[in-house]
Protein backbone atom coordinates (compact mmCIF):
# COMPACT_ATOMS: atom_id res chain seq x y z
CA UNK A 1 0.00 0.00 0.00
CA UNK A 2 1.44 3.35 -0.91
CA UNK A 3 2.30 6.01 1.61
CA UNK A 4 -0.36 8.61 0.79
CA UNK A 5 -3.17 6.07 0.96
CA UNK A 6 -1.87 4.82 4.31
CA UNK A 7 -1.62 8.40 5.54
CA UNK A 8 -5.16 9.18 4.36
CA UNK A 9 -6.49 6.11 6.18
CA UNK A 10 -4.59 7.12 9.29
CA UNK A 11 -6.14 10.59 9.17
CA UNK A 12 -9.58 8.93 9.05
CA UNK A 13 -8.72 6.68 12.01
CA UNK A 14 -7.30 9.64 13.94
CA UNK A 15 -10.48 11.63 13.30
CA UNK A 16 -12.59 8.71 14.53
CA UNK A 17 -10.48 8.57 17.71
CA UNK A 18 -10.98 12.29 18.22
CA UNK A 19 -14.68 12.03 17.42
CA UNK A 20 -15.22 9.31 20.02
CA UNK A 21 -13.50 11.34 22.75
CA UNK A 22 -14.78 14.72 21.52
CA UNK A 23 -18.29 13.44 20.83
CA UNK A 24 -18.61 12.26 24.40
CA UNK A 25 -17.55 15.72 25.57
CA UNK A 26 -20.10 17.49 23.34
CA UNK A 27 -22.92 15.12 24.27
CA UNK A 28 -22.25 15.54 27.98
CA UNK A 29 -21.80 19.32 27.80
CA UNK A 30 -25.09 19.69 25.91
CA UNK A 31 -26.92 17.69 28.55
CA UNK A 32 -25.28 19.60 31.40
CA UNK A 33 -25.90 23.04 29.88
CA UNK A 34 -29.37 22.62 28.45
CA UNK A 35 -30.78 19.52 30.12
CA UNK A 36 -33.52 19.42 32.74
CA UNK A 37 -32.32 18.76 36.31
CA UNK A 38 -33.44 15.73 38.35
CA UNK A 39 -32.38 14.49 41.76
CA UNK A 40 -31.96 10.73 42.39
CA UNK A 41 -31.79 9.13 45.81
CA UNK A 42 -28.83 6.72 45.96
CA UNK A 43 -27.03 4.21 48.15
CA UNK A 44 -23.35 4.02 47.19
CA UNK A 45 -19.90 2.15 47.81
CA UNK A 46 -16.03 2.94 46.61
CA UNK A 47 -13.53 1.13 44.46
CA UNK A 48 -10.72 2.06 42.06
CA UNK A 49 -10.55 1.87 38.27
CA UNK A 50 -6.97 1.42 37.01
CA UNK A 51 -7.51 3.78 34.09
CA UNK A 52 -9.92 6.35 35.39
CA UNK A 53 -8.94 6.64 39.04
CA UNK A 54 -11.05 6.63 42.16
CA UNK A 55 -14.77 6.96 42.15
CA UNK A 56 -17.79 6.59 44.38
CA UNK A 57 -19.85 3.68 43.11
CA UNK A 58 -23.52 4.49 42.98
CA UNK A 59 -26.39 2.13 43.72
CA UNK A 60 -30.06 2.86 43.48
CA UNK A 61 -32.62 1.53 45.90
CA UNK A 62 -34.95 0.45 43.12
CA UNK A 63 -34.13 0.21 39.45
CA UNK A 64 -37.38 -0.61 37.75
CA UNK A 65 -39.90 1.31 35.71
CA UNK A 66 -43.64 0.65 35.54
CA UNK A 67 -44.69 -1.13 32.37
CA UNK A 68 -48.09 -1.16 30.72
CA UNK A 69 -49.74 -4.47 29.91
CA UNK A 70 -49.05 -4.05 26.19
CA UNK A 71 -45.31 -3.39 26.57
CA UNK A 72 -43.45 -6.08 24.66
CA UNK A 73 -39.68 -5.93 25.17
CA UNK A 74 -37.02 -8.57 25.37
CA UNK A 75 -34.07 -8.32 27.68
CA UNK A 76 -31.33 -6.19 26.09
CA UNK A 77 -33.62 -4.15 23.84
CA UNK A 78 -33.76 -0.35 24.00
CA UNK A 79 -36.58 1.34 25.93
CA UNK A 80 -37.38 4.96 26.70
CA UNK A 81 -38.23 5.90 30.27
CA UNK A 82 -39.68 9.38 30.97
CA UNK A 83 -38.63 11.04 34.24
CA UNK A 84 -41.17 12.42 36.72
CA UNK A 85 -40.73 14.07 40.11
CA UNK A 86 -42.24 12.46 43.22
CA UNK A 87 -43.77 14.16 46.28
CA UNK A 88 -40.35 14.54 47.99
CA UNK A 89 -38.85 16.23 44.94
CA UNK A 90 -36.81 13.19 43.84
CA UNK A 91 -36.83 11.69 40.37
CA UNK A 92 -39.18 8.81 39.65
CA UNK A 93 -39.13 6.58 36.60
CA UNK A 94 -42.25 6.93 34.45
CA UNK A 95 -43.94 4.35 32.27
CA UNK A 96 -41.47 2.62 29.93
CA UNK A 97 -42.09 2.92 26.17
CA UNK A 98 -40.54 1.30 23.16
CA UNK A 99 -40.76 4.49 21.08
CA UNK A 100 -39.13 7.84 21.74
CA UNK A 101 -41.29 10.20 23.83
CA UNK A 102 -42.03 13.72 22.56
CA UNK A 103 -40.78 15.57 25.61
CA UNK A 104 -37.04 15.88 26.20
CA UNK A 105 -36.70 14.53 29.75
CA UNK A 106 -36.43 10.83 29.27
CA UNK A 107 -33.63 8.27 29.50
CA UNK A 108 -32.65 5.83 26.78
CA UNK A 109 -32.05 2.57 28.63
CA UNK A 110 -31.52 -1.12 28.06
CA UNK A 111 -34.42 -3.24 29.24
CA UNK A 112 -33.93 -6.06 31.69
CA UNK A 113 -36.59 -8.65 32.43
CA UNK A 114 -40.25 -7.70 32.72
CA UNK A 115 -41.95 -9.14 35.78
CA UNK A 116 -45.14 -8.53 37.80
CA UNK A 117 -45.05 -7.80 41.55
CA UNK A 118 -47.39 -9.29 44.21
CA UNK A 119 -50.11 -6.80 43.37
CA UNK A 120 -49.98 -7.75 39.71
CA UNK A 121 -48.38 -4.52 38.44
CA UNK A 122 -45.89 -5.05 35.64
CA UNK A 123 -42.36 -3.66 36.02
CA UNK A 124 -39.44 -3.61 33.63
CA UNK A 125 -36.04 -3.81 35.31
CA UNK A 126 -33.42 -1.38 34.06
CA UNK A 127 -29.81 -0.41 34.86
CA UNK A 128 -29.53 3.35 35.24
CA UNK A 129 -26.39 4.68 33.48
CA UNK A 130 -25.25 6.63 36.57
CA UNK A 131 -22.91 4.15 38.20
CA UNK A 132 -19.82 6.13 39.15
CA UNK A 133 -18.98 9.53 40.57
CA UNK A 134 -15.25 10.08 39.88
CA UNK A 135 -13.32 12.00 42.51
CA UNK A 136 -9.87 13.13 43.54
CA UNK A 137 -7.96 10.06 44.77
CA UNK A 138 -7.51 11.59 48.25
CA UNK A 139 -11.14 12.60 48.67
CA UNK A 140 -12.99 9.61 47.26
CA UNK A 141 -12.54 7.40 50.36
CA UNK A 142 -13.87 10.21 52.62
CA UNK A 143 -16.83 10.74 50.35
CA UNK A 144 -17.38 7.03 50.41
CA UNK A 145 -17.46 6.94 54.20
CA UNK A 146 -19.89 9.85 54.26
CA UNK A 147 -22.19 8.11 51.85
CA UNK A 148 -21.95 4.81 53.73
CA UNK A 149 -22.92 6.54 56.94
CA UNK A 150 -25.88 7.77 54.94
CA UNK A 151 -26.87 4.21 54.24
CA UNK A 152 -27.17 3.51 57.94
CA UNK A 153 -29.86 6.15 58.10
CA UNK A 154 -27.89 9.05 59.50
CA UNK A 155 -27.42 10.91 56.24
CA UNK A 156 -29.16 11.15 52.90
CA UNK A 157 -27.13 10.72 49.72
CA UNK A 158 -28.33 11.80 46.31
CA UNK A 159 -27.08 12.80 42.86
CA UNK A 160 -28.31 15.56 40.60
CA UNK A 161 -28.52 14.64 36.94
CA UNK A 162 -29.11 16.74 33.82
CA UNK A 163 -31.17 15.02 31.17
CA UNK A 164 -31.52 15.95 27.51
CA UNK A 165 -32.89 13.81 24.67
CA UNK A 166 -32.28 10.50 26.38
CA UNK A 167 -28.77 11.36 27.59
CA UNK A 168 -28.29 11.82 31.33
CA UNK A 169 -25.10 13.20 32.88
CA UNK A 170 -24.31 13.40 36.59
CA UNK A 171 -23.87 16.97 37.79
CA UNK A 172 -23.15 16.65 41.47
CA UNK A 173 -23.13 14.24 44.41
CA UNK A 174 -24.93 15.45 47.54
CA UNK A 175 -24.75 14.45 51.20
CA UNK A 176 -27.71 15.83 53.18
CA UNK A 177 -28.46 18.20 50.29
CA UNK A 178 -24.94 19.71 50.47
CA UNK A 179 -22.62 19.27 47.44
CA UNK A 180 -19.98 16.66 48.28
CA UNK A 181 -16.92 18.96 48.08
CA UNK A 182 -18.53 21.55 50.33
CA UNK A 183 -19.68 18.83 52.70
CA UNK A 184 -16.18 17.35 52.93
CA UNK A 185 -14.68 20.79 53.58
CA UNK A 186 -17.23 21.55 56.30
CA UNK A 187 -16.81 18.19 57.97
CA UNK A 188 -13.01 18.01 57.66
CA UNK A 189 -12.41 18.72 61.35
CA UNK A 190 -14.82 15.99 62.48
CA UNK A 191 -12.72 13.22 60.98
Amino acid sequence: MNRSLRLALFVVVALVQLAVAGGAIVKSELALRTGEAFRFRIQPVDPVDAFRGRYVAIRFAVERAPATDDLEVRSGETIYVPLDVDADGYAALGQAKTDRPRRSSYLRLRAGVVSPDEEGNRWVWVALPFRRYYMDEDRAPDAERAVWAGRRGQREASISVRVRNGVGVIEELYIDDVPIHQWLAENAQDR
Binding site: A24, G53, Y134, D136
Partner: protein, 446 residues
Protein backbone atom coordinates in the same frame (compact mmCIF):
# COMPACT_ATOMS: atom_id res chain seq x y z
CA UNK B 1 15.83 -7.16 4.23
CA UNK B 2 14.26 -6.59 7.60
CA UNK B 3 16.53 -5.74 10.46
CA UNK B 4 15.82 -8.81 12.49
CA UNK B 5 16.60 -11.65 10.14
CA UNK B 6 19.91 -12.20 11.85
CA UNK B 7 19.26 -15.83 12.63
CA UNK B 8 18.56 -16.57 8.99
CA UNK B 9 21.77 -14.81 8.02
CA UNK B 10 23.75 -16.71 10.63
CA UNK B 11 22.29 -19.94 9.27
CA UNK B 12 23.16 -18.99 5.70
CA UNK B 13 26.72 -18.03 6.61
CA UNK B 14 27.05 -21.35 8.44
CA UNK B 15 25.96 -23.19 5.29
CA UNK B 16 28.50 -21.43 3.06
CA UNK B 17 31.55 -23.68 3.74
CA UNK B 18 29.46 -26.77 2.96
CA UNK B 19 28.06 -25.25 -0.22
CA UNK B 20 31.53 -24.22 -1.24
CA UNK B 21 33.03 -27.65 -0.50
CA UNK B 22 30.33 -29.42 -2.51
CA UNK B 23 30.82 -27.06 -5.42
CA UNK B 24 27.32 -25.54 -5.35
CA UNK B 25 28.83 -22.06 -5.30
CA UNK B 26 32.40 -20.96 -5.94
CA UNK B 27 34.60 -19.16 -3.46
CA UNK B 28 34.05 -15.76 -5.09
CA UNK B 29 30.28 -15.96 -4.56
CA UNK B 30 30.80 -17.12 -0.96
CA UNK B 31 33.10 -14.16 -0.27
CA UNK B 32 30.69 -11.69 -1.78
CA UNK B 33 27.82 -13.15 0.26
CA UNK B 34 29.90 -12.84 3.44
CA UNK B 35 30.82 -9.24 2.65
CA UNK B 36 27.21 -8.35 1.77
CA UNK B 37 25.73 -9.73 4.99
CA UNK B 38 28.56 -8.45 7.20
CA UNK B 39 27.50 -5.00 6.00
CA UNK B 40 23.83 -5.67 6.66
CA UNK B 41 24.13 -7.16 10.12
CA UNK B 42 26.48 -4.50 11.43
CA UNK B 43 23.83 -2.10 12.73
CA UNK B 44 21.06 -4.66 13.27
CA UNK B 45 21.75 -5.32 16.95
CA UNK B 46 21.90 -1.64 17.76
CA UNK B 47 18.71 -0.90 15.83
CA UNK B 48 16.91 -3.69 17.68
CA UNK B 49 17.92 -2.25 21.05
CA UNK B 50 16.79 1.22 19.98
CA UNK B 51 13.39 -0.17 18.91
CA UNK B 52 12.90 -2.03 22.19
CA UNK B 53 13.84 1.09 24.19
CA UNK B 54 11.49 3.21 22.10
CA UNK B 55 8.55 0.91 22.84
CA UNK B 56 9.27 0.74 26.56
CA UNK B 57 9.81 4.50 26.72
CA UNK B 58 6.45 5.07 25.04
CA UNK B 59 4.76 2.53 27.34
CA UNK B 60 6.12 4.28 30.43
CA UNK B 61 5.26 7.79 29.23
CA UNK B 62 1.76 6.78 28.12
CA UNK B 63 1.21 4.90 31.38
CA UNK B 64 2.40 7.94 33.31
CA UNK B 65 -0.08 10.16 31.47
CA UNK B 66 -2.90 7.78 32.36
CA UNK B 67 -1.87 7.73 36.03
CA UNK B 68 -1.58 11.54 36.20
CA UNK B 69 -5.03 11.90 34.70
CA UNK B 70 -6.47 9.23 36.99
CA UNK B 71 -5.55 11.39 39.99
CA UNK B 72 -8.55 13.47 38.92
CA UNK B 73 -7.66 17.15 38.88
CA UNK B 74 -10.90 18.54 40.20
CA UNK B 75 -9.35 21.98 40.69
CA UNK B 76 -9.47 22.48 36.92
CA UNK B 77 -12.88 23.16 35.46
CA UNK B 78 -14.73 20.81 33.12
CA UNK B 79 -13.65 22.69 30.00
CA UNK B 80 -9.96 22.60 30.92
CA UNK B 81 -10.08 18.92 31.72
CA UNK B 82 -11.84 18.14 28.44
CA UNK B 83 -9.07 20.01 26.62
CA UNK B 84 -6.37 18.18 28.61
CA UNK B 85 -7.96 14.89 27.56
CA UNK B 86 -7.57 15.72 23.88
CA UNK B 87 -4.12 17.35 23.90
CA UNK B 88 -1.96 14.21 24.42
CA UNK B 89 -4.14 12.40 21.86
CA UNK B 90 -3.74 15.08 19.19
CA UNK B 91 -0.01 15.40 19.94
CA UNK B 92 0.63 11.69 19.47
CA UNK B 93 -1.57 11.62 16.36
CA UNK B 94 0.55 14.37 14.83
CA UNK B 95 3.70 12.51 15.84
CA UNK B 96 2.46 9.28 14.24
CA UNK B 97 1.50 11.22 11.07
CA UNK B 98 4.97 12.68 10.89
CA UNK B 99 6.54 9.23 11.34
CA UNK B 100 4.30 7.84 8.58
CA UNK B 101 5.58 10.50 6.20
CA UNK B 102 9.21 10.84 7.19
CA UNK B 103 10.30 7.82 9.21
CA UNK B 104 8.19 4.88 8.07
CA UNK B 105 11.35 2.83 7.51
CA UNK B 106 12.42 3.04 11.14
CA UNK B 107 11.06 0.28 13.36
CA UNK B 108 11.96 2.21 16.51
CA UNK B 109 10.03 5.33 15.47
CA UNK B 110 7.05 3.38 14.16
CA UNK B 111 6.65 1.07 17.15
CA UNK B 112 7.42 3.77 19.70
CA UNK B 113 5.00 6.41 18.43
CA UNK B 114 2.26 3.84 17.71
CA UNK B 115 2.51 2.56 21.29
CA UNK B 116 2.28 6.12 22.60
CA UNK B 117 -0.82 6.73 20.47
CA UNK B 118 -2.46 3.52 21.72
CA UNK B 119 -2.02 4.68 25.30
CA UNK B 120 -3.08 8.29 24.73
CA UNK B 121 -6.29 7.01 23.13
CA UNK B 122 -6.94 5.18 26.39
CA UNK B 123 -6.04 8.31 28.39
CA UNK B 124 -8.39 10.49 26.36
CA UNK B 125 -11.49 8.31 26.67
CA UNK B 126 -10.69 7.66 30.33
CA UNK B 127 -10.43 11.37 31.18
CA UNK B 128 -13.63 12.23 29.34
CA UNK B 129 -15.42 9.43 31.22
CA UNK B 130 -13.96 10.73 34.46
CA UNK B 131 -14.82 14.39 33.85
CA UNK B 132 -18.45 13.67 33.03
CA UNK B 133 -18.96 10.61 35.26
CA UNK B 134 -20.07 8.67 32.17
CA UNK B 135 -18.85 5.64 30.28
CA UNK B 136 -20.10 2.89 32.54
CA UNK B 137 -17.87 0.17 33.98
CA UNK B 138 -14.42 -1.17 33.07
CA UNK B 139 -15.91 -3.54 30.51
CA UNK B 140 -17.36 -0.68 28.46
CA UNK B 141 -14.10 1.27 28.63
CA UNK B 142 -12.02 -1.71 27.47
CA UNK B 143 -14.45 -2.38 24.63
CA UNK B 144 -14.23 1.19 23.29
CA UNK B 145 -10.44 1.11 23.65
CA UNK B 146 -10.15 -2.22 21.78
CA UNK B 147 -12.37 -0.91 18.96
CA UNK B 148 -10.24 2.22 18.54
CA UNK B 149 -7.01 0.17 18.60
CA UNK B 150 -8.18 -2.42 16.06
CA UNK B 151 -7.06 -0.65 12.84
CA UNK B 152 -3.71 0.55 14.23
CA UNK B 153 -1.50 -2.60 14.07
CA UNK B 154 -2.01 -2.95 10.36
CA UNK B 155 -2.17 0.75 9.52
CA UNK B 156 0.94 1.70 11.46
CA UNK B 157 2.69 -1.65 10.97
CA UNK B 158 3.18 -1.96 14.71
CA UNK B 159 3.58 -5.27 16.53
CA UNK B 160 3.69 -3.59 19.94
CA UNK B 161 0.19 -2.14 19.36
CA UNK B 162 -1.02 -5.53 18.08
CA UNK B 163 0.08 -7.04 21.40
CA UNK B 164 -1.56 -4.23 23.40
CA UNK B 165 -4.72 -4.65 21.35
CA UNK B 166 -4.92 -8.40 21.98
CA UNK B 167 -4.28 -7.82 25.69
CA UNK B 168 -7.03 -5.19 25.89
CA UNK B 169 -9.43 -7.42 23.96
CA UNK B 170 -8.72 -10.41 26.22
CA UNK B 171 -9.18 -8.24 29.29
CA UNK B 172 -12.50 -6.99 27.91
CA UNK B 173 -13.66 -10.53 27.13
CA UNK B 174 -12.79 -11.62 30.66
CA UNK B 175 -14.54 -8.63 32.25
CA UNK B 176 -17.59 -9.04 30.01
CA UNK B 177 -17.81 -12.77 30.71
CA UNK B 178 -17.78 -12.08 34.46
CA UNK B 179 -20.65 -9.63 33.95
CA UNK B 180 -22.50 -12.27 31.96
CA UNK B 181 -22.42 -10.31 28.68
CA UNK B 182 -22.10 -11.73 25.17
CA UNK B 183 -18.52 -11.78 23.82
CA UNK B 184 -19.22 -13.11 20.33
CA UNK B 185 -17.76 -9.91 18.85
CA UNK B 186 -14.35 -10.88 20.20
CA UNK B 187 -13.64 -13.17 17.21
CA UNK B 188 -14.26 -10.74 14.32
CA UNK B 189 -12.50 -7.95 16.20
CA UNK B 190 -9.46 -10.14 16.94
CA UNK B 191 -9.24 -10.83 13.20
CA UNK B 192 -8.02 -7.23 12.85
CA UNK B 193 -4.49 -8.42 13.66
CA UNK B 194 -4.45 -10.89 10.72
CA UNK B 195 -3.39 -8.34 8.05
CA UNK B 196 -0.53 -7.26 10.30
CA UNK B 197 0.42 -10.89 10.96
CA UNK B 198 0.53 -11.59 7.22
CA UNK B 199 2.68 -8.51 6.67
CA UNK B 200 5.17 -9.43 9.39
CA UNK B 201 5.39 -13.08 8.33
CA UNK B 202 6.04 -12.02 4.75
CA UNK B 203 8.67 -9.43 5.49
CA UNK B 204 10.59 -11.25 8.21
CA UNK B 205 9.13 -14.48 9.51
CA UNK B 206 12.16 -15.35 11.65
CA UNK B 207 12.53 -11.93 13.20
CA UNK B 208 11.82 -10.89 16.73
CA UNK B 209 8.62 -9.06 15.75
CA UNK B 210 7.19 -12.21 14.19
CA UNK B 211 8.10 -14.17 17.33
CA UNK B 212 6.55 -11.60 19.68
CA UNK B 213 3.39 -11.40 17.61
CA UNK B 214 3.09 -15.20 17.61
CA UNK B 215 3.48 -15.26 21.39
CA UNK B 216 0.70 -12.73 21.76
CA UNK B 217 -1.58 -14.61 19.36
CA UNK B 218 -0.85 -18.02 20.93
CA UNK B 219 -1.59 -16.77 24.44
CA UNK B 220 -4.66 -14.87 23.24
CA UNK B 221 -6.04 -18.02 21.57
CA UNK B 222 -5.48 -20.08 24.74
CA UNK B 223 -7.52 -17.66 26.83
CA UNK B 224 -10.03 -16.69 24.13
CA UNK B 225 -10.94 -20.30 23.32
CA UNK B 226 -11.96 -20.77 26.94
CA UNK B 227 -13.74 -17.44 27.37
CA UNK B 228 -15.48 -17.69 24.00
CA UNK B 229 -17.13 -21.04 24.73
CA UNK B 230 -20.78 -20.94 25.69
CA UNK B 231 -20.56 -24.49 27.14
CA UNK B 232 -24.10 -25.35 26.26
CA UNK B 233 -23.00 -28.86 25.40
CA UNK B 234 -20.85 -29.80 28.42
CA UNK B 235 -17.35 -31.06 27.67
CA UNK B 236 -16.90 -29.51 24.22
CA UNK B 237 -13.94 -27.58 25.67
CA UNK B 238 -12.00 -30.86 25.76
CA UNK B 239 -12.20 -31.28 21.99
CA UNK B 240 -11.62 -27.56 21.36
CA UNK B 241 -8.43 -27.40 23.43
CA UNK B 242 -7.00 -30.73 22.19
CA UNK B 243 -7.51 -29.46 18.62
CA UNK B 244 -6.12 -26.00 19.35
CA UNK B 245 -2.91 -27.22 20.98
CA UNK B 246 -2.32 -29.86 18.29
CA UNK B 247 -2.80 -27.19 15.62
CA UNK B 248 -0.32 -24.88 17.36
CA UNK B 249 2.29 -27.65 17.64
CA UNK B 250 1.84 -28.57 13.98
CA UNK B 251 2.01 -25.05 12.57
CA UNK B 252 4.93 -24.21 14.86
CA UNK B 253 6.84 -27.35 13.83
CA UNK B 254 6.21 -26.78 10.13
CA UNK B 255 7.46 -23.21 10.47
CA UNK B 256 10.74 -23.69 12.26
CA UNK B 257 13.98 -24.83 10.80
CA UNK B 258 15.66 -26.10 13.91
CA UNK B 259 18.12 -23.35 14.56
CA UNK B 260 15.88 -21.05 16.60
CA UNK B 261 15.87 -20.78 20.38
CA UNK B 262 12.77 -21.40 22.47
CA UNK B 263 11.64 -17.74 22.40
CA UNK B 264 11.30 -17.91 18.63
CA UNK B 265 9.06 -20.99 18.74
CA UNK B 266 6.04 -19.67 20.67
CA UNK B 267 3.48 -21.87 18.92
CA UNK B 268 5.36 -25.06 19.74
CA UNK B 269 6.09 -23.92 23.28
CA UNK B 270 2.51 -22.92 24.09
CA UNK B 271 1.10 -25.95 22.24
CA UNK B 272 3.29 -28.47 24.07
CA UNK B 273 2.98 -26.84 27.50
CA UNK B 274 -0.77 -26.53 27.01
CA UNK B 275 -1.03 -30.16 25.86
CA UNK B 276 0.86 -31.51 28.88
CA UNK B 277 -1.32 -29.56 31.33
CA UNK B 278 -4.53 -30.39 29.47
CA UNK B 279 -3.74 -34.11 29.19
CA UNK B 280 -2.86 -34.28 32.89
CA UNK B 281 -6.23 -32.72 33.70
CA UNK B 282 -7.96 -35.13 31.31
CA UNK B 283 -6.22 -38.12 32.91
CA UNK B 284 -8.59 -37.66 35.86
CA UNK B 285 -12.16 -38.90 35.58
CA UNK B 286 -13.76 -35.66 36.79
CA UNK B 287 -13.60 -33.68 33.48
CA UNK B 288 -15.37 -36.56 31.75
CA UNK B 289 -18.37 -36.51 34.10
CA UNK B 290 -21.70 -35.67 32.42
CA UNK B 291 -20.40 -34.56 29.06
CA UNK B 292 -21.99 -34.62 25.62
CA UNK B 293 -25.33 -34.01 24.00
CA UNK B 294 -27.26 -36.03 26.62
CA UNK B 295 -26.49 -33.32 29.14
CA UNK B 296 -27.18 -30.31 26.92
CA UNK B 297 -28.41 -27.18 28.72
CA UNK B 298 -31.79 -26.06 27.48
CA UNK B 299 -32.45 -22.86 29.46
CA UNK B 300 -32.67 -19.63 27.47
CA UNK B 301 -29.71 -18.23 29.37
CA UNK B 302 -27.57 -19.65 26.60
CA UNK B 303 -26.98 -17.66 23.45
CA UNK B 304 -28.02 -19.42 20.24
CA UNK B 305 -25.31 -18.15 17.86
CA UNK B 306 -22.62 -18.47 20.49
CA UNK B 307 -23.59 -22.10 21.08
CA UNK B 308 -23.08 -22.80 17.39
CA UNK B 309 -19.66 -21.16 17.52
CA UNK B 310 -18.81 -23.79 20.17
CA UNK B 311 -19.75 -26.55 17.74
CA UNK B 312 -17.84 -24.93 14.87
CA UNK B 313 -14.71 -24.68 17.05
CA UNK B 314 -15.09 -28.22 18.36
CA UNK B 315 -15.35 -29.65 14.86
CA UNK B 316 -13.13 -27.14 13.05
CA UNK B 317 -10.05 -27.05 15.26
CA UNK B 318 -9.39 -30.83 15.39
CA UNK B 319 -10.11 -31.11 11.66
CA UNK B 320 -7.76 -28.21 10.93
CA UNK B 321 -5.11 -29.89 13.09
CA UNK B 322 -5.45 -33.19 11.18
CA UNK B 323 -5.33 -31.44 7.80
CA UNK B 324 -2.32 -29.37 8.87
CA UNK B 325 -0.53 -32.49 10.09
CA UNK B 326 -1.20 -34.27 6.81
CA UNK B 327 -0.13 -31.36 4.64
CA UNK B 328 2.65 -29.66 6.57
CA UNK B 329 4.47 -32.37 8.46
CA UNK B 330 6.95 -34.83 7.06
CA UNK B 331 6.55 -38.35 8.44
CA UNK B 332 10.28 -38.90 8.84
CA UNK B 333 11.49 -35.53 10.05
CA UNK B 334 8.48 -34.66 12.21
CA UNK B 335 7.63 -38.07 13.67
CA UNK B 336 7.85 -36.68 17.22
CA UNK B 337 5.36 -33.92 16.47
CA UNK B 338 3.03 -36.47 14.87
CA UNK B 339 3.17 -38.42 18.15
CA UNK B 340 2.04 -35.29 20.02
CA UNK B 341 -0.76 -34.90 17.46
CA UNK B 342 -2.11 -38.36 18.39
CA UNK B 343 -4.35 -36.64 20.93
CA UNK B 344 -6.65 -35.48 18.11
CA UNK B 345 -7.72 -38.87 16.71
CA UNK B 346 -7.81 -40.17 20.29
CA UNK B 347 -10.23 -37.50 21.47
CA UNK B 348 -12.28 -37.93 18.28
CA UNK B 349 -12.93 -41.54 19.37
CA UNK B 350 -13.04 -41.14 23.14
CA UNK B 351 -15.28 -38.07 23.38
CA UNK B 352 -18.27 -39.50 21.45
CA UNK B 353 -17.77 -42.84 23.20
CA UNK B 354 -17.93 -41.16 26.62
CA UNK B 355 -20.90 -39.05 25.56
CA UNK B 356 -22.90 -42.15 24.54
CA UNK B 357 -21.88 -44.47 27.36
CA UNK B 358 -21.53 -41.90 30.18
CA UNK B 359 -18.51 -43.86 31.38
CA UNK B 360 -15.95 -41.47 32.84
CA UNK B 361 -13.14 -44.01 32.88
CA UNK B 362 -12.65 -44.33 29.13
CA UNK B 363 -11.30 -40.81 28.79
CA UNK B 364 -9.22 -40.87 31.97
CA UNK B 365 -7.53 -44.15 31.00
CA UNK B 366 -7.05 -43.08 27.37
CA UNK B 367 -5.26 -39.87 28.36
CA UNK B 368 -3.16 -41.61 31.02
CA UNK B 369 -1.97 -44.05 28.36
CA UNK B 370 -1.45 -41.19 25.89
CA UNK B 371 0.73 -39.27 28.37
CA UNK B 372 2.76 -42.36 29.06
CA UNK B 373 3.23 -43.34 25.40
CA UNK B 374 4.04 -39.80 24.23
CA UNK B 375 6.39 -39.29 27.18
CA UNK B 376 8.31 -42.50 26.40
CA UNK B 377 8.33 -41.78 22.66
CA UNK B 378 9.71 -38.31 23.36
CA UNK B 379 12.48 -39.72 25.55
CA UNK B 380 13.35 -42.29 22.88
CA UNK B 381 13.38 -39.66 20.13
CA UNK B 382 15.57 -37.42 22.28
CA UNK B 383 18.03 -40.25 22.87
CA UNK B 384 18.07 -41.09 19.17
CA UNK B 385 18.74 -37.46 18.21
CA UNK B 386 21.13 -37.02 21.18
CA UNK B 387 19.06 -33.95 22.19
CA UNK B 388 19.01 -33.41 25.94
CA UNK B 389 16.12 -30.89 25.84
CA UNK B 390 13.82 -33.40 24.15
CA UNK B 391 14.85 -36.18 26.58
CA UNK B 392 14.09 -33.88 29.51
CA UNK B 393 10.69 -32.97 28.06
CA UNK B 394 9.80 -36.67 27.83
CA UNK B 395 11.07 -37.31 31.35
CA UNK B 396 9.07 -34.36 32.63
CA UNK B 397 5.87 -35.70 31.03
CA UNK B 398 6.33 -39.16 32.52
CA UNK B 399 7.36 -37.74 35.91
CA UNK B 400 4.29 -35.48 36.05
CA UNK B 401 2.09 -38.41 35.14
CA UNK B 402 3.64 -40.47 37.94
CA UNK B 403 3.20 -37.69 40.51
CA UNK B 404 -0.40 -37.06 39.50
CA UNK B 405 -1.31 -40.77 39.63
CA UNK B 406 0.51 -41.31 42.92
CA UNK B 407 -1.80 -38.81 44.61
CA UNK B 408 -4.89 -39.76 42.60
CA UNK B 409 -7.46 -41.04 45.06
CA UNK B 410 -9.54 -42.60 42.28
CA UNK B 411 -7.60 -45.86 42.40
CA UNK B 412 -7.03 -48.20 45.33
CA UNK B 413 -3.58 -48.39 46.95
CA UNK B 414 -3.04 -52.02 45.92
CA UNK B 415 -3.80 -51.30 42.27
CA UNK B 416 -1.60 -48.19 42.30
CA UNK B 417 1.20 -50.09 44.01
CA UNK B 418 1.22 -52.90 41.44
CA UNK B 419 0.97 -50.46 38.54
CA UNK B 420 3.92 -48.43 39.86
CA UNK B 421 6.07 -51.54 40.34
CA UNK B 422 5.23 -52.80 36.84
CA UNK B 423 6.02 -49.46 35.20
CA UNK B 424 9.24 -49.22 37.23
CA UNK B 425 10.33 -52.66 35.99
CA UNK B 426 9.42 -51.57 32.48
CA UNK B 427 11.68 -48.55 32.83
CA UNK B 428 14.61 -50.65 33.99
CA UNK B 429 14.16 -53.15 31.15
CA UNK B 430 13.88 -50.33 28.64
CA UNK B 431 16.99 -48.78 30.10
CA UNK B 432 19.00 -51.99 29.66
CA UNK B 433 17.73 -52.52 26.10
CA UNK B 434 18.39 -48.90 25.19
CA UNK B 435 21.92 -48.78 26.56
CA UNK B 436 22.79 -52.08 24.83
CA UNK B 437 21.55 -50.85 21.48
CA UNK B 438 23.39 -47.55 21.96
CA UNK B 439 26.58 -49.42 22.74
CA UNK B 440 26.08 -51.56 19.65
CA UNK B 441 25.52 -48.45 17.56
CA UNK B 442 28.72 -46.90 18.94
CA UNK B 443 30.72 -50.05 18.11
CA UNK B 444 29.28 -50.05 14.62
CA UNK B 445 30.24 -46.41 14.19
CA UNK B 446 33.81 -47.21 15.16
Amino acid sequence: MAIMGRLSIRWLLGELPKLEAEGVIDSGVAERLRAYYADKTLGAGRRLVVAIFAVFGALLIGGGVILLLAHNWEAFGRGTRAAIALVPLVASQVLVGWVLIKKSGSTAWREGTATLLALTVAAAIALVDQTYHTGGDLESFLWRWSLLLAPLPWLLNSTAVAMLFLAALTWWAGAAKVEGSQILMMWPLAAAVIPHLIHVMRSDRRGLRAANLQWAIALFLCVAAGLGLENRVPGLWIVVYVGLFALMITVGAANHRGEEGLWRRPLEFVGITGSVILWLVLSFDEPWRNIGWKHIHTTERFHEVSSWVDVVLAVGLPLAAIVAMALLLDRGRHCLYLMWGLAVPLVAVVWPLTATTDSRWIGAIAFTVLLFVVGIATIAEGVRRQHLGVVNLGMFVVAMLVVVRFFDSGFGFILKGFAFILVGIGFLVANVVLSRSLRAAEKEAK
